[in-house]
């Protein structure tokens, strides 16, 4: 099954740039005078690279958040980090149009994760263990707060700004040239490197925080480092492609159900198949013969949710 999945993935990756509103032919992609050349190298390839690495970041980010908070429902999205990022992006669209959007997005994600971290520390002063319920509730409360703040921003914005915000929240992988893609690749490499570096510590965190502490791990420090690095990466991704949900929740679960191994051994597959999942979703979004591309977030949820439910039912039958 795993080998089959890898073969399928490479197949998707290789056909993906040729399919779209305009179907491209393999023979033209090296002919620099043709439109095919321009579409292929300036639009399709950067887009697929962007999709692959954003997918990887979101999936791996979900996996790490689930480990830190010891709860399988937690992702950077459920904790309000995505809505924080979106809110600050909207604020910068309306009030600080001269500011580079990425900066305010990152600011939004970092500030949210710090609020979450320190509130949860405040609640559990006496114990190393972070109570996941309280942090999940804090995340939900923050999301509501951000939602109302977002309404306020909408209310105060002009029609044009309003439209930009809505387009941003729908999510889009549109990109021209390699700049954005390469930034995301760099971010992915850093994220992947940091997580691999802490792999041994992550193994201990997979048991529980108390055990990790008793084995001499600096639990608080490692959790904070991982939280900040993941939130930064997710923040950068969101600033480029908008809040694309569902990948961080579904992909780690699917990979766990297929591999049946502890999460520290799944860092690569989660990243890789997270990437493939987004490339595949984007492939569908671009090829449904509508007048314009369907928002990518819609597609990820449409594919992800039913497949996820199918896997859950199958798992419970076996158990």
């Amino acid at each position: 099954m795993k080998i089959l999945l890898y073969i399928l993935s490479f197949f998707i990756l290789s056909i993906s740039p040729f399919l779209g509103e305009i179907t491209l032919h393999f023979s033209d992609i090296l002919n620099s005078d043709s439109t095919t050349y321009t579409i292929f190298w300036d639009l399709r390839v950067p887009r697929i690279i962007l999709a692959f690495f954003v997918g990887g970041i979101l999936a791996l980010g979900g996996l790490i958040f689930q480990i830190i908070f010891k709860n399988e429902l937690i992702t950077p999205y459920t904790l309000g980090i995505a809505s924080g990022t979106t809110l600050f992006t909207a604020i910068s669209i309306v009030f600080f149009p001269f500011l580079y959007i990425t900066i305010s997005s990152i600011f939004g994600s970092i500030i949210t994760v710090l609020i979450l971290y320190f509130i949860s520390k405040q609640i559990n002063k006496n114990s190393i263990a972070v109570s996941t319920n309280s942090i999940l509730l804090t995340g939900i409360a923050l999301s509501y707060f951000y939602a109302s703040a977002m309404m306020l921003v909408f209310y105060m914005s002009s029609l044009q700004e309003n439209y930009s915000i809505v387009r941003f929240t729908l999510g889009s992988l549109d990109t021209v040239g390699f700049t954005n893609s390469l930034i995301i690749v760099a971010v992915s490499v850093i994220l992947y490197f940091v997580i691999s570096y802490y792999r041994q510590s992550i193994r201990l965190l997979l048991i529980c925080n108390d055990t990790a502490f008793l084995k001499g791990l600096k639990v608080d420090k490692i959790n904070l480092v991982l939280l900040v690095v993941v939130s930064l990466s997710v923040g950068v991704s969101i600033s480029f492609v908008g809040p694309i949900g569902f990948i961080g929740l579904v992909v780690p679960h699917i990979i766990k159900l297929i591999y049946k191994k502890s999460a520290d051994k799944l860092i690569f597959p989660v990243f890789f198949f997270g990437g493939i999942f987004l490339v595949f979703s984007d492939l569908i979004a671009r090829n449904l013969n509508t007048d314009s591309t369907i928002p990518i977030g819609v597609v990820t949820a449409f594919i992800g949710a039913p497949f996820f439910i199918y896997l859950l039912i199958r798992r419970n039958k076996k158990a």
Partner: protein, 232 residues
Amino acid sequence: MLEINNYNSSILHEISFSLNENENLIILGQNGAGKSTLAKVLSNLIENDKVKLFNENMNKLDDSKRALYINYIPPKLSIFDEYITLREFLELSFVTKVDNEKIDEVIKLLNLKKLEDKYCKSFSSGEKQLLLLASSIMHDAKITIFDELTANLDISRLKEVYEIFNSDLLKQKIVITHNLDLAYALKFKILFLKDGIIEFFGSNDEFFEAVNLKRFYKDTILKLDNHLVVNL
């Protein structure tokens, strides 16, 4: 060597005692007396600066050094990942280099061979207790605190645990239990907690004198011919 000096909190009051090197201890007390809290204080899971391990203030110790000194085994195995196998869990239990031969030995000793590659999350509560015991042997701290390790074990397993507690497999042990037969048979020094206060701290023989049994357990426990009998 372990020393705690005048620790106070909302649960525990004026806790002071000390143990010499290799002096084992049993902690007894009713539900809610503060036994587990005391264990967490001793292992710094509840952060404090009142505990000294081998003459060094525990809170100032480097985390990795503290791990060599003290380990706490919780009453229930708490494990987040569904797919960690028994063998992987034992590998993770080492604070120094992983010793595969030692893992094999302990798996054999505790009869865990058939569970070796099974996922820990699917174990029964008794199997989880045995896994925790095995992990404490891997960790091999200078002092190990066991919190209700024997609660879910059948009689033959209890006997095995008793043998291990009674051997030199583990170094210094602090055992929290409700099982008075175990406490009596192990002959360790006894600490009795009541409502967060140390009511008794002394030798095993002294604790199990009729006067003291009457004092701590009213008429529910009697000693007949060197055996304890519960009088319900």
